[in-house]
Symmetry: C2
Subunit: 274 residues, 2 copies
Amino acid sequence: MNIAIAGLGLIGGSAAKALLRAGRACDGYDLPAVLERATREGVIRAAANSFAAYDVVLIALPPDAAMRLLDEGNFKEGAVVADFCGVKGALERCVYAKPRAYRYVGCHPMAGKEVSGIENADAALFDGASIILTENERTDPEAVRLLEGLFAEMGFAAMPHCTAAYHDRKIAYTSQLAHIVSSAYVKSETADGFPGFTGGSFQDMTRIAGVDEELWTRLYLLNLPAAASELEGLIAHLQEYLSALRQADETTLRALLREGRLRKAALDKERRIL
Amino acid sequence: MNIAIAGLGLIGGSAAKALLRAGRACDGYDLPAVLERATREGVIRAAANSFAAYDVVLIALPPDAAMRLLDEGNFKEGAVVADFCGVKGALERCVYAKPRAYRYVGCHPMAGKEVSGIENADAALFDGASIILTENERTDPEAVRLLEGLFAEMGFAAMPHCTAAYHDRKIAYTSQLAHIVSSAYVKSETADGFPGFTGGSFQDMTRIAGVDEELWTRLYLLNLPAAASELEGLIAHLQEYLSALRQADETTLRALLREGRLRKAALDKERRIL
Protein backbone atom coordinates (compact mmCIF):
# COMPACT_ATOMS: atom_id res chain seq x y z
CA MET A 1 0.00 0.00 0.00
CA ASN A 2 1.50 3.30 -1.16
CA ILE A 3 0.73 6.19 1.24
CA ALA A 4 1.32 9.91 0.73
CA ILE A 5 0.87 12.57 3.38
CA ALA A 6 0.08 16.07 2.14
CA GLY A 7 1.25 18.63 4.67
CA LEU A 8 4.08 17.71 7.05
CA GLY A 9 3.38 20.09 9.92
CA LEU A 10 2.69 18.98 13.47
CA ILE A 11 -0.19 16.69 12.48
CA GLY A 12 1.08 15.40 9.13
CA GLY A 13 4.62 15.04 10.43
CA SER A 14 3.38 13.13 13.46
CA ALA A 15 1.25 10.91 11.19
CA ALA A 16 4.33 10.10 9.09
CA LYS A 17 6.37 9.31 12.21
CA ALA A 18 3.58 7.22 13.77
CA LEU A 19 3.20 5.16 10.58
CA LEU A 20 6.97 4.76 10.34
CA ARG A 21 6.98 3.49 13.92
CA ALA A 22 4.43 0.90 12.76
CA GLY A 23 6.71 -0.14 9.90
CA ARG A 24 5.14 1.92 7.09
CA ALA A 25 7.25 4.45 5.22
CA CYS A 26 5.18 7.20 3.55
CA ASP A 27 5.95 9.78 0.92
CA GLY A 28 5.29 13.44 1.66
CA TYR A 29 4.12 16.63 0.03
CA ASP A 30 4.95 20.09 1.36
CA LEU A 31 7.16 23.11 0.67
CA PRO A 32 10.69 22.22 -0.50
CA ALA A 33 12.39 23.17 2.79
CA VAL A 34 10.01 20.98 4.81
CA LEU A 35 10.39 18.10 2.35
CA GLU A 36 14.15 18.40 2.52
CA ARG A 37 14.12 18.22 6.31
CA ALA A 38 11.57 15.38 6.41
CA THR A 39 13.61 13.33 3.93
CA ARG A 40 16.92 14.04 5.66
CA GLU A 41 15.49 13.00 9.04
CA GLY A 42 13.94 9.89 7.55
CA VAL A 43 10.40 10.97 8.46
CA ILE A 44 9.32 10.30 4.87
CA ARG A 45 10.71 8.02 2.21
CA ALA A 46 10.57 10.53 -0.65
CA ALA A 47 8.78 13.58 -1.99
CA ALA A 48 5.41 12.90 -3.65
CA ASN A 49 5.48 14.91 -6.86
CA SER A 50 2.10 13.66 -8.03
CA PHE A 51 -0.64 11.88 -6.13
CA ALA A 52 -1.49 9.58 -9.02
CA ALA A 53 0.65 6.74 -7.68
CA TYR A 54 -0.85 6.49 -4.18
CA ASP A 55 -3.47 4.12 -2.78
CA VAL A 56 -3.96 6.34 0.26
CA VAL A 57 -3.53 10.10 0.60
CA LEU A 58 -3.78 11.72 4.05
CA ILE A 59 -4.29 15.48 3.80
CA ALA A 60 -2.99 17.39 6.83
CA LEU A 61 -3.20 20.88 5.34
CA PRO A 62 -5.14 23.96 6.54
CA PRO A 63 -8.77 23.81 5.35
CA ASP A 64 -8.52 26.05 2.29
CA ALA A 65 -5.43 24.29 0.99
CA ALA A 66 -7.03 20.92 1.76
CA MET A 67 -10.15 21.87 -0.23
CA ARG A 68 -8.03 23.05 -3.15
CA LEU A 69 -6.18 19.76 -3.20
CA LEU A 70 -9.38 17.71 -2.86
CA ASP A 71 -10.86 19.68 -5.75
CA GLU A 72 -7.90 19.71 -8.10
CA GLY A 73 -5.62 16.88 -7.02
CA ASN A 74 -4.77 14.19 -9.55
CA PHE A 75 -5.67 11.16 -7.45
CA LYS A 76 -5.57 7.57 -8.61
CA GLU A 77 -8.95 6.04 -9.40
CA GLY A 78 -10.33 4.42 -6.25
CA ALA A 79 -7.65 5.96 -4.02
CA VAL A 80 -8.67 6.49 -0.39
CA VAL A 81 -8.32 10.20 0.35
CA ALA A 82 -8.81 11.51 3.88
CA ASP A 83 -8.42 14.99 5.29
CA PHE A 84 -7.65 15.91 8.92
CA CYS A 85 -9.32 19.34 9.08
CA GLY A 86 -11.14 20.63 12.15
CA VAL A 87 -14.35 21.27 10.19
CA LYS A 88 -16.07 18.64 8.10
CA GLY A 89 -19.24 19.99 6.48
CA ALA A 90 -17.36 22.51 4.33
CA LEU A 91 -14.94 19.80 3.21
CA GLU A 92 -17.77 17.46 2.23
CA ARG A 93 -19.50 20.21 0.25
CA CYS A 94 -16.27 20.80 -1.66
CA VAL A 95 -15.69 17.10 -2.37
CA TYR A 96 -19.27 16.32 -3.40
CA ALA A 97 -19.61 19.36 -5.65
CA LYS A 98 -18.78 17.00 -8.52
CA PRO A 99 -18.21 13.29 -9.11
CA ARG A 100 -14.80 12.12 -7.87
CA ALA A 101 -12.80 9.08 -8.88
CA TYR A 102 -11.32 8.83 -5.37
CA ARG A 103 -13.01 7.60 -2.17
CA TYR A 104 -13.24 10.40 0.37
CA VAL A 105 -13.45 10.06 4.16
CA GLY A 106 -13.43 13.14 6.38
CA CYS A 107 -11.39 12.66 9.56
CA HIS A 108 -10.49 14.78 12.57
CA PRO A 109 -7.75 13.67 14.96
CA MET A 110 -8.44 14.90 18.52
CA ALA A 111 -4.83 15.58 19.34
CA GLY A 112 -2.47 18.51 19.12
CA LYS A 113 0.03 20.67 20.90
CA GLU A 114 0.34 24.40 21.48
CA VAL A 115 3.28 24.36 19.05
CA SER A 116 3.34 23.61 15.35
CA GLY A 117 5.62 22.50 12.53
CA ILE A 118 7.48 19.33 11.65
CA GLU A 119 10.07 20.23 14.31
CA ASN A 120 7.44 19.38 16.92
CA ALA A 121 6.10 16.27 15.18
CA ASP A 122 5.94 13.29 17.49
CA ALA A 123 5.36 9.59 16.70
CA ALA A 124 3.41 9.28 19.97
CA LEU A 125 1.11 12.30 19.45
CA PHE A 126 -1.94 10.17 18.69
CA ASP A 127 -1.34 7.41 21.26
CA GLY A 128 -4.55 6.88 23.18
CA ALA A 129 -6.32 9.75 21.39
CA SER A 130 -9.58 9.75 19.48
CA ILE A 131 -10.06 10.34 15.74
CA ILE A 132 -13.51 11.17 14.39
CA LEU A 133 -14.54 9.71 10.99
CA THR A 134 -17.46 11.35 9.22
CA GLU A 135 -19.78 9.28 7.13
CA ASN A 136 -22.70 9.76 4.76
CA GLU A 137 -24.52 7.71 2.15
CA ARG A 138 -21.64 8.14 -0.31
CA THR A 139 -18.94 6.92 2.08
CA ASP A 140 -17.26 3.67 1.03
CA PRO A 141 -17.21 1.24 4.00
CA GLU A 142 -14.05 -0.42 2.74
CA ALA A 143 -12.24 2.91 2.66
CA VAL A 144 -13.33 3.48 6.26
CA ARG A 145 -12.04 0.04 7.33
CA LEU A 146 -8.72 0.61 5.63
CA LEU A 147 -8.28 3.96 7.40
CA GLU A 148 -9.30 2.48 10.75
CA GLY A 149 -6.52 -0.06 10.36
CA LEU A 150 -3.97 2.67 9.68
CA PHE A 151 -5.27 4.83 12.54
CA ALA A 152 -4.99 1.91 14.95
CA GLU A 153 -1.38 1.47 13.82
CA MET A 154 -0.83 5.17 14.47
CA GLY A 155 -1.91 4.73 18.09
CA PHE A 156 -5.48 6.07 18.04
CA ALA A 157 -7.61 4.38 20.70
CA ALA A 158 -11.13 5.58 19.82
CA MET A 159 -12.72 6.16 16.40
CA PRO A 160 -16.24 7.57 16.71
CA HIS A 161 -18.26 7.76 13.48
CA CYS A 162 -20.79 10.49 12.82
CA THR A 163 -22.13 12.78 10.13
CA ALA A 164 -20.24 15.94 9.21
CA ALA A 165 -23.08 18.05 10.63
CA TYR A 166 -22.95 16.23 13.97
CA HIS A 167 -19.16 16.63 14.07
CA ASP A 168 -19.36 20.33 13.33
CA ARG A 169 -21.96 20.92 16.06
CA LYS A 170 -19.97 19.01 18.68
CA ILE A 171 -16.66 20.60 17.76
CA ALA A 172 -18.17 24.09 17.78
CA TYR A 173 -18.81 23.44 21.46
CA THR A 174 -15.97 21.24 22.77
CA SER A 175 -13.20 22.99 20.86
CA GLN A 176 -14.16 26.14 18.96
CA LEU A 177 -16.04 27.74 21.85
CA ALA A 178 -13.26 26.80 24.29
CA HIS A 179 -10.68 28.59 22.14
CA ILE A 180 -12.75 31.78 22.00
CA VAL A 181 -13.35 31.73 25.76
CA SER A 182 -9.65 31.25 26.41
CA SER A 183 -8.75 34.02 23.98
CA ALA A 184 -11.24 36.41 25.59
CA TYR A 185 -10.29 35.39 29.13
CA VAL A 186 -6.71 36.68 28.93
CA LYS A 187 -7.87 40.15 27.89
CA SER A 188 -8.83 41.38 31.38
CA GLU A 189 -6.51 44.08 32.68
CA THR A 190 -6.46 42.15 35.95
CA ALA A 191 -4.39 39.43 34.27
CA ASP A 192 -1.16 41.36 34.80
CA GLY A 193 0.80 40.10 37.77
CA PHE A 194 -1.21 36.89 38.07
CA PRO A 195 1.66 34.60 39.18
CA GLY A 196 1.17 33.65 42.82
CA PHE A 197 -2.54 34.42 42.55
CA THR A 198 -3.72 31.16 41.04
CA GLY A 199 -3.79 27.51 41.96
CA GLY A 200 -4.43 26.22 38.45
CA SER A 201 -7.91 27.38 37.41
CA PHE A 202 -6.49 30.35 35.57
CA GLN A 203 -3.91 28.23 33.73
CA ASP A 204 -6.59 25.74 32.64
CA MET A 205 -8.83 28.54 31.46
CA THR A 206 -6.12 30.21 29.38
CA ARG A 207 -3.97 27.32 28.12
CA ILE A 208 -5.34 27.52 24.57
CA ALA A 209 -5.51 31.33 24.25
CA GLY A 210 -2.53 31.38 21.89
CA VAL A 211 -4.14 29.88 18.77
CA ASP A 212 -2.87 30.60 15.28
CA GLU A 213 -5.33 33.28 14.17
CA GLU A 214 -4.96 32.50 10.45
CA LEU A 215 -5.98 28.85 10.81
CA TRP A 216 -8.63 29.40 13.46
CA THR A 217 -10.31 32.33 11.76
CA ARG A 218 -10.88 30.04 8.77
CA LEU A 219 -12.11 27.20 11.00
CA TYR A 220 -14.68 29.52 12.58
CA LEU A 221 -15.77 30.97 9.25
CA LEU A 222 -16.21 27.47 7.84
CA ASN A 223 -18.42 26.48 10.79
CA LEU A 224 -20.25 29.75 11.32
CA PRO A 225 -23.77 28.95 12.43
CA ALA A 226 -22.70 26.29 14.94
CA ALA A 227 -19.84 28.35 16.38
CA ALA A 228 -21.98 31.49 16.72
CA SER A 229 -24.82 29.57 18.28
CA GLU A 230 -22.63 28.00 20.98
CA LEU A 231 -21.07 31.35 21.83
CA GLU A 232 -24.51 32.94 22.01
CA GLY A 233 -25.65 30.19 24.36
CA LEU A 234 -22.66 30.59 26.66
CA ILE A 235 -23.08 34.36 26.84
CA ALA A 236 -26.76 33.89 27.73
CA HIS A 237 -25.79 31.56 30.59
CA LEU A 238 -23.09 33.95 31.81
CA GLN A 239 -25.64 36.79 31.80
CA GLU A 240 -27.73 34.81 34.30
CA TYR A 241 -24.81 34.69 36.74
CA LEU A 242 -24.08 38.38 36.14
CA SER A 243 -27.66 39.38 36.79
CA ALA A 244 -27.66 37.37 40.05
CA LEU A 245 -24.39 39.01 41.12
CA ARG A 246 -25.64 42.50 40.29
CA GLN A 247 -28.76 41.98 42.38
CA ALA A 248 -26.82 40.17 45.13
CA ASP A 249 -29.41 37.45 44.60
CA GLU A 250 -27.96 34.68 46.72
CA THR A 251 -30.76 32.17 46.01
CA THR A 252 -30.46 32.44 42.22
CA LEU A 253 -26.67 32.35 42.30
CA ARG A 254 -26.74 29.23 44.47
CA ALA A 255 -29.23 27.58 42.09
CA LEU A 256 -27.07 28.43 39.05
CA LEU A 257 -23.94 26.99 40.64
CA ARG A 258 -25.84 23.93 41.83
CA GLU A 259 -27.18 23.32 38.33
CA GLY A 260 -23.60 23.50 37.00
CA ARG A 261 -22.36 21.06 39.62
CA LEU A 262 -25.09 18.50 38.81
CA ARG A 263 -24.55 18.90 35.07
CA LYS A 264 -20.81 18.39 35.52
CA ALA A 265 -21.42 15.25 37.60
CA ALA A 266 -23.70 13.85 34.88
CA LEU A 267 -21.07 14.56 32.21
CA ASP A 268 -18.34 12.93 34.30
CA LYS A 269 -20.52 9.86 34.63
CA GLU A 270 -21.01 9.76 30.86
CA ARG A 271 -17.23 9.96 30.42
CA ARG A 272 -16.73 6.96 32.71
CA ILE A 273 -19.33 4.90 30.84
CA LEU A 274 -18.23 5.60 27.27
CA MET B 1 4.57 27.22 70.16
CA ASN B 2 1.01 25.95 70.67
CA ILE B 3 -0.97 25.80 67.42
CA ALA B 4 -4.68 25.18 66.94
CA ILE B 5 -6.39 24.65 63.61
CA ALA B 6 -10.07 25.58 63.43
CA GLY B 7 -11.76 23.55 60.71
CA LEU B 8 -10.27 20.18 59.72
CA GLY B 9 -11.65 19.84 56.21
CA LEU B 10 -9.48 19.50 53.12
CA ILE B 11 -7.48 22.67 53.82
CA GLY B 12 -7.34 22.55 57.63
CA GLY B 13 -6.73 18.80 57.66
CA SER B 14 -3.95 19.18 55.10
CA ALA B 15 -2.43 22.01 57.17
CA ALA B 16 -2.43 19.75 60.25
CA LYS B 17 -0.82 16.91 58.30
CA ALA B 18 1.75 19.22 56.69
CA LEU B 19 2.76 20.67 60.06
CA LEU B 20 2.91 17.18 61.55
CA ARG B 21 5.21 16.15 58.71
CA ALA B 22 7.43 19.07 59.76
CA GLY B 23 7.46 17.83 63.35
CA ARG B 24 4.71 20.06 64.78
CA ALA B 25 1.64 18.49 66.35
CA CYS B 26 -1.40 20.80 66.39
CA ASP B 27 -4.69 20.73 68.23
CA GLY B 28 -7.90 20.92 66.24
CA TYR B 29 -11.40 22.34 66.38
CA ASP B 30 -14.31 20.94 64.39
CA LEU B 31 -17.49 18.88 64.78
CA PRO B 32 -17.14 15.91 67.20
CA ALA B 33 -17.11 13.24 64.46
CA VAL B 34 -14.32 15.03 62.58
CA LEU B 35 -12.33 15.58 65.78
CA GLU B 36 -12.71 11.93 66.68
CA ARG B 37 -11.38 10.82 63.31
CA ALA B 38 -8.56 13.38 63.30
CA THR B 39 -7.44 12.31 66.78
CA ARG B 40 -7.73 8.61 66.04
CA GLU B 41 -5.67 8.99 62.86
CA GLY B 42 -3.10 11.10 64.66
CA VAL B 43 -3.71 14.14 62.41
CA ILE B 44 -4.12 16.29 65.53
CA ARG B 45 -2.83 15.90 69.07
CA ALA B 46 -6.09 16.75 70.84
CA ALA B 47 -9.31 18.71 70.58
CA ALA B 48 -9.03 22.44 71.24
CA ASN B 49 -11.92 23.23 73.55
CA SER B 50 -10.96 26.88 73.95
CA PHE B 51 -8.57 29.02 71.91
CA ALA B 52 -7.22 30.83 74.96
CA ALA B 53 -4.20 28.55 75.26
CA TYR B 54 -2.84 28.92 71.71
CA ASP B 55 -0.06 31.12 70.37
CA VAL B 56 -1.21 30.55 66.80
CA VAL B 57 -4.71 29.82 65.50
CA LEU B 58 -5.18 28.92 61.83
CA ILE B 59 -8.82 29.25 60.74
CA ALA B 60 -9.76 26.98 57.85
CA LEU B 61 -13.53 27.44 58.05
CA PRO B 62 -16.00 28.74 55.45
CA PRO B 63 -16.09 32.57 55.45
CA ASP B 64 -19.17 33.14 57.63
CA ALA B 65 -18.01 30.69 60.28
CA ALA B 66 -14.50 32.18 60.11
CA MET B 67 -15.89 35.69 60.65
CA ARG B 68 -17.99 34.50 63.57
CA LEU B 69 -14.93 32.94 65.19
CA LEU B 70 -12.76 35.99 64.52
CA ASP B 71 -15.45 38.17 66.06
CA GLU B 72 -16.32 36.08 69.08
CA GLY B 73 -13.40 33.71 69.68
CA ASN B 74 -11.64 33.86 73.03
CA PHE B 75 -8.08 34.22 71.76
CA LYS B 76 -5.01 34.71 73.92
CA GLU B 77 -3.67 38.25 74.04
CA GLY B 78 -1.11 38.69 71.30
CA ALA B 79 -2.00 35.37 69.63
CA VAL B 80 -1.36 35.20 65.90
CA VAL B 81 -4.68 34.45 64.23
CA ALA B 82 -4.82 33.75 60.48
CA ASP B 83 -7.74 32.74 58.28
CA PHE B 84 -7.52 30.87 54.97
CA CYS B 85 -10.68 32.20 53.29
CA GLY B 86 -10.89 32.94 49.57
CA VAL B 87 -11.97 36.55 50.15
CA LYS B 88 -10.02 38.97 52.31
CA GLY B 89 -11.69 42.41 52.39
CA ALA B 90 -14.81 41.12 54.15
CA LEU B 91 -12.68 39.31 56.72
CA GLU B 92 -10.63 42.43 57.45
CA ARG B 93 -13.78 44.53 57.84
CA CYS B 94 -15.04 42.01 60.38
CA VAL B 95 -11.77 41.89 62.33
CA TYR B 96 -11.19 45.64 62.38
CA ALA B 97 -14.76 46.48 63.39
CA LYS B 98 -13.44 46.71 66.94
CA PRO B 99 -10.09 46.54 68.75
CA ARG B 100 -8.74 42.98 69.02
CA ALA B 101 -6.24 41.57 71.48
CA TYR B 102 -4.99 39.11 68.85
CA ARG B 103 -2.78 39.80 65.82
CA TYR B 104 -4.67 39.10 62.63
CA VAL B 105 -3.17 38.16 59.26
CA GLY B 106 -5.43 37.28 56.33
CA CYS B 107 -4.07 34.41 54.23
CA HIS B 108 -5.22 32.52 51.15
CA PRO B 109 -3.54 29.25 50.17
CA MET B 110 -3.59 28.77 46.39
CA ALA B 111 -4.15 25.03 46.53
CA GLY B 112 -7.11 22.70 46.58
CA LYS B 113 -8.73 19.66 45.09
CA GLU B 114 -12.11 18.96 43.55
CA VAL B 115 -12.92 16.91 46.65
CA SER B 116 -13.34 18.02 50.25
CA GLY B 117 -13.23 16.78 53.83
CA ILE B 118 -10.55 15.45 56.13
CA GLU B 119 -10.69 12.12 54.26
CA ASN B 120 -9.00 13.89 51.34
CA ALA B 121 -6.52 15.88 53.44
CA ASP B 122 -2.97 15.50 52.21
CA ALA B 123 0.32 16.49 53.85
CA ALA B 124 1.70 17.38 50.40
CA LEU B 125 -1.25 19.55 49.25
CA PHE B 126 0.68 22.80 49.64
CA ASP B 127 4.07 21.59 48.36
CA GLY B 128 5.28 24.10 45.79
CA ALA B 129 2.08 26.17 46.01
CA SER B 130 1.65 29.84 46.72
CA ILE B 131 -0.04 31.41 49.76
CA ILE B 132 -1.10 35.04 49.69
CA LEU B 133 -0.71 37.14 52.85
CA THR B 134 -2.71 40.36 53.06
CA GLU B 135 -1.27 43.33 54.89
CA ASN B 136 -2.32 46.78 55.96
CA GLU B 137 -1.07 49.45 58.37
CA ARG B 138 -2.34 47.42 61.36
CA THR B 139 -0.58 44.20 60.39
CA ASP B 140 2.12 43.11 62.82
CA PRO B 141 5.33 42.31 60.90
CA GLU B 142 6.40 39.78 63.51
CA ALA B 143 3.13 37.87 63.14
CA VAL B 144 3.73 37.79 59.38
CA ARG B 145 7.26 36.45 59.85
CA LEU B 146 6.06 33.76 62.23
CA LEU B 147 3.41 32.61 59.76
CA GLU B 148 5.88 32.67 56.87
CA GLY B 149 8.06 30.28 58.85
CA LEU B 150 5.14 27.91 59.42
CA PHE B 151 4.02 28.15 55.79
CA ALA B 152 7.53 27.31 54.60
CA GLU B 153 7.45 24.24 56.84
CA MET B 154 4.09 23.32 55.30
CA GLY B 155 5.68 23.27 51.85
CA PHE B 156 4.54 26.59 50.38
CA ALA B 157 7.03 27.90 47.85
CA ALA B 158 5.77 31.45 47.20
CA MET B 159 4.24 33.98 49.61
CA PRO B 160 3.14 37.13 47.81
CA HIS B 161 2.07 40.03 50.05
CA CYS B 162 -0.64 42.49 49.09
CA THR B 163 -3.58 44.44 50.40
CA ALA B 164 -6.95 42.74 50.86
CA ALA B 165 -8.40 44.90 48.07
CA TYR B 166 -5.67 43.85 45.64
CA HIS B 167 -6.16 40.21 46.60
CA ASP B 168 -9.91 40.39 46.07
CA ARG B 169 -9.53 42.01 42.65
CA LYS B 170 -7.00 39.42 41.47
CA ILE B 171 -8.93 36.45 42.84
CA ALA B 172 -12.18 37.70 41.31
CA TYR B 173 -10.40 37.22 37.99
CA THR B 174 -8.04 34.25 38.34
CA SER B 175 -10.40 32.09 40.39
CA GLN B 176 -13.95 33.40 40.86
CA LEU B 177 -14.50 34.23 37.18
CA ALA B 178 -12.99 30.90 36.11
CA HIS B 179 -15.45 28.99 38.30
CA ILE B 180 -18.44 30.84 36.82
CA VAL B 181 -17.20 30.26 33.27
CA SER B 182 -16.70 26.57 33.95
CA SER B 183 -20.12 26.30 35.58
CA ALA B 184 -21.80 28.05 32.64
CA TYR B 185 -19.80 26.13 30.04
CA VAL B 186 -21.23 22.71 30.94
CA LYS B 187 -24.79 23.95 30.45
CA SER B 188 -24.85 23.71 26.65
CA GLU B 189 -27.11 20.98 25.35
CA THR B 190 -24.29 20.03 23.01
CA ALA B 191 -22.28 18.73 25.97
CA ASP B 192 -24.10 15.38 25.92
CA GLY B 193 -22.08 12.69 24.21
CA PHE B 194 -18.85 14.69 24.27
CA PRO B 195 -16.45 11.73 24.85
CA GLY B 196 -14.41 11.16 21.72
CA PHE B 197 -15.06 14.73 20.59
CA THR B 198 -12.39 16.50 22.58
CA GLY B 199 -8.63 16.49 22.83
CA GLY B 200 -8.46 18.21 26.21
CA SER B 201 -9.73 21.78 25.75
CA PHE B 202 -13.19 20.82 26.92
CA GLN B 203 -11.84 19.05 30.02
CA ASP B 204 -9.69 22.08 30.94
CA MET B 205 -12.63 24.42 30.47
CA THR B 206 -14.97 22.38 32.67
CA ARG B 207 -12.70 20.88 35.35
CA ILE B 208 -13.92 23.25 38.08
CA ALA B 209 -17.63 23.29 37.16
CA GLY B 210 -18.54 21.17 40.19
CA VAL B 211 -17.99 23.74 42.95
CA ASP B 212 -19.80 23.53 46.27
CA GLU B 213 -22.58 26.06 45.70
CA GLU B 214 -22.97 26.91 49.41
CA LEU B 215 -19.36 27.95 49.88
CA TRP B 216 -18.98 29.65 46.51
CA THR B 217 -22.22 31.60 46.64
CA ARG B 218 -20.91 33.17 49.85
CA LEU B 219 -17.47 33.83 48.34
CA TYR B 220 -19.09 35.67 45.40
CA LEU B 221 -21.45 37.64 47.64
CA LEU B 222 -18.52 38.69 49.83
CA ASN B 223 -16.58 39.94 46.80
CA LEU B 224 -19.44 41.33 44.77
CA PRO B 225 -18.20 44.38 42.93
CA ALA B 226 -14.95 42.75 41.81
CA ALA B 227 -16.58 39.47 40.75
CA ALA B 228 -19.38 41.23 38.85
CA SER B 229 -16.95 43.57 37.14
CA GLU B 230 -14.72 40.75 35.86
CA LEU B 231 -17.71 38.82 34.55
CA GLU B 232 -19.02 41.96 32.87
CA GLY B 233 -15.64 42.46 31.23
CA LEU B 234 -15.45 38.90 29.95
CA ILE B 235 -18.97 39.04 28.51
CA ALA B 236 -18.09 42.29 26.72
CA HIS B 237 -15.03 40.63 25.16
CA LEU B 238 -17.05 37.56 24.15
CA GLN B 239 -19.65 39.84 22.52
CA GLU B 240 -16.91 41.16 20.22
CA TYR B 241 -16.17 37.64 18.96
CA LEU B 242 -19.89 36.93 18.61
CA SER B 243 -20.48 40.07 16.62
CA ALA B 244 -17.58 39.21 14.29
CA LEU B 245 -18.96 35.68 13.82
CA ARG B 246 -22.48 36.93 13.13
CA GLN B 247 -21.21 39.29 10.46
CA ALA B 248 -18.74 36.71 9.11
CA ASP B 249 -16.21 39.49 9.63
CA GLU B 250 -12.97 37.62 8.99
CA THR B 251 -10.71 40.64 9.54
CA THR B 252 -12.11 41.48 12.97
CA LEU B 253 -12.16 37.86 14.09
CA ARG B 254 -8.53 37.44 13.05
CA ALA B 255 -7.60 40.63 14.93
CA LEU B 256 -9.43 39.45 18.08
CA LEU B 257 -7.70 36.06 18.05
CA ARG B 258 -4.35 37.68 17.33
CA GLU B 259 -4.78 40.06 20.26
CA GLY B 260 -5.52 37.05 22.49
CA ARG B 261 -2.43 35.21 21.25
CA LEU B 262 -0.15 38.19 21.92
CA ARG B 263 -1.68 38.80 25.35
CA LYS B 264 -1.22 35.12 26.23
CA ALA B 265 2.43 35.25 25.13
CA ALA B 266 3.02 38.33 27.30
CA LEU B 267 1.42 36.60 30.31
CA ASP B 268 3.50 33.44 29.74
CA LYS B 269 6.60 35.59 29.72
CA GLU B 270 5.57 37.18 33.01
CA ARG B 271 5.09 33.73 34.50
CA ARG B 272 8.61 32.73 33.48
CA ILE B 273 10.11 35.86 35.01
CA LEU B 274 8.30 35.81 38.36
